[in-house]
Amino acid sequence: MPVTTGDIRDWIQRSGQVLHENNAYLTQLDSAIGDADHGINMDRGFQAVNKKLAGMEEADISTLLKTTGTTLVSTVGGASGPLYGTAFLRAGVATAGKQTLESADLITLFEAALEGVKARGKAQTGEKTMLDALAPAIEAAKQAQAAQASLAQIVQAMVAGAEVGTKATIEMTATKGRASYLGERSVGHQDPGATSCWLLLQALADSIKQA
């Protein structure tokens, strides 16, 4: 079954809940190697997004994603605002005109998001950022697709890839973002942005399972 507009709307809503529940956890992670606001930022942003989307009953997938992106840009601030904002904006552009998303569309969506984050953040994988959750998630999705997995299985593979990627940030030395100021002292701590990315993908999987 392809992903519907309803699934996307459910995903964004669910993301808001998940990020709200994990506000303190993400902020805690950001305390260790950042400035103790990542959970607060993401929660604020997705609350604004869901308020916005509530008034847009007719929106299609692309509009939902673009609106999420612009709202995140306008309400999150920090590093994560422009990064997640750009990711959703690019995802919206990549899904223009689509009423549903097949596996290939979904991978295209996330690849566009990934490119957006890389361009905006001038970062690569291995620098202990959200990219280290997103990139392996897409890698895992492609492998699953190549192995003829169902769309639901592909999304499950993404979550698993993001989890592995997020855990791998623990051993990394940060070289981008605020954590980079810590140098070696950043080792031993899980990246908050990678963690929120993994949570977002988990929410997507739950939305699809639910549907």
Binding site: S31, D37, G77, A79, G81, P82, R178, L182
Partner: protein
């Protein structure tokens, strides 16, 4: 958490409202767009200057809006860079036809958000230039980091280029002077205690009774290293040594010095640090021509201090001494 606040979510808005009420002669506050704008902005035929960043660094930046300094400030949530909408609204509010300068502290979030706002303003045909401050010598390997952070120099730069813009300089001239101030300035900070972000509700880090963090920024980020707490003389030496190395100050040169409190450290201690600083610089035949001692760029309620030196020449001195009238800095009128 012990703070004089109401709802943590309302901290920035209420503080901005309080500022507006306390300084109606100098600023207006646009709560809708969350910006602080100089009274009577835009000023015709003056380069507009805006800055911004996370809140929690008061009086920076809102306290520096007024005659001879900033035309607008964009305060983000606590320790979170503002969003492009704020910078765009501020740019509109201060654009007097001679272009607008964005002063941006070098943090990934600040840089990206300002960048996005500049792209939007650019698309509207507004002449925009950005200058990034990156004076924090605590960040060493800029190849392996997001680069040196913008800290104390930002305040001094805002004053100096603000004076220059007030004197009628063009956008290009203002940009050049801003780059010069940034190049001539370095800072280093330390913390005796952590700060507490209101929405987080607990200290960002824990320090033992006999520990301090050296090389901290202004967001409660841990520093480069944690060491045994020593005295003001040693701490001053520790902070000033990398600054002097980096600036390569020579005998007989003169500087503008800022001994800055992090928000929770009282003035009496800052004067002790200033006393130590003078002694050390005197020993190297460097003279402090101008100074500021106080809370100018803070990290909420953190106890600690930072030291900033800017190598002075006649041009910098002239615009440092030029009149300024803002909530937090005032002289000459």
């Amino acid at each position: 958490m012990k703070k004089l606040i109401n709802n943590p979510d309302d901290v920035v808005k209420e503080a901005m409202a309080g500022m507006a009420l306390a300084h109606p002669d100098l600023i207006t506050v646009d709560l809708e767009n969350q910006i602080i704008v100089r009274k009577n902005a835009p000023i015709r035929d003056k380069v507009g200057i805006i800055s911004g960043g996370g809140s929690g660094h008061e009086p920076m930046h809102g306290g520096y809006v007024g005659y001879g300094m900033l035309d607008a400030a964009c305060p983000g949530a606590v320790f979170t860079s503002p969003v492009p909408d704020q910078m765009l609204a501020a740019t509109h509010a201060v654009n007097g036809g001679k272009g607008v300068l964005h002063i941006v502290k070098n943090y990934t979030g600040d840089v990206m958000n300002f960048e996005m706002s500049a792209e939007l303003a650019d698309a509207e045909g507004i002449q925009i230039a950005s200058v990034i401050t990156n004076d924090d010598v605590a960040v060493q390997d800029s190849l392996y980091t997001a680069g040196r952070r913008g800290v104390g120099v930002t305040v001094l730069l805002e004053k100096i280029v603000g004076g220059y813009a007030e004197a009628g300089a063009s956008l290009d001239q203002v940009v050049a002077l801003a780059r010069k101030v940034n190049d001539h300035g370095r800072s280093m900070g330390m913390a005796l205690t952590s700060c507490t972000v209101p929405a987080a509700g607990k200290p960002t880090f824990e320090l033992g009774e006999n520990e301090m963090e050296i090389g901290i920024g202004i967001h409660g980020e841990p520093g480069r290293r944690r060491t045994k707490l020593t005295n003001a003389d040693d701490i001053t030496e520790t902070l000033i040594t990398p600054i002097l190395e980096d600036l390569q100050l020579k005998n007989g040169e003169s500087v503008l010095a800022l001994v800055n409190g992090m928000g929770g450290t009282p003035l009496i201690e800052l004067y002790i640090v200033y006393n130590a600083l003078q002694r050390i610089l005197k020993g190297k035949a460097i003279s402090i021509a101008r100074s500021l001692v106080g809370n100018y760029i803070t990290a909420l309620d953190m106890a600690g201090c930072s030291i900033t030196l800017v190598r002075l020449d006649d041009e910098l001195l002239k615009y440092w001494d030029a009149p300024v009238h803002t909530p937090a800095l005032r002289w000459g009128r």
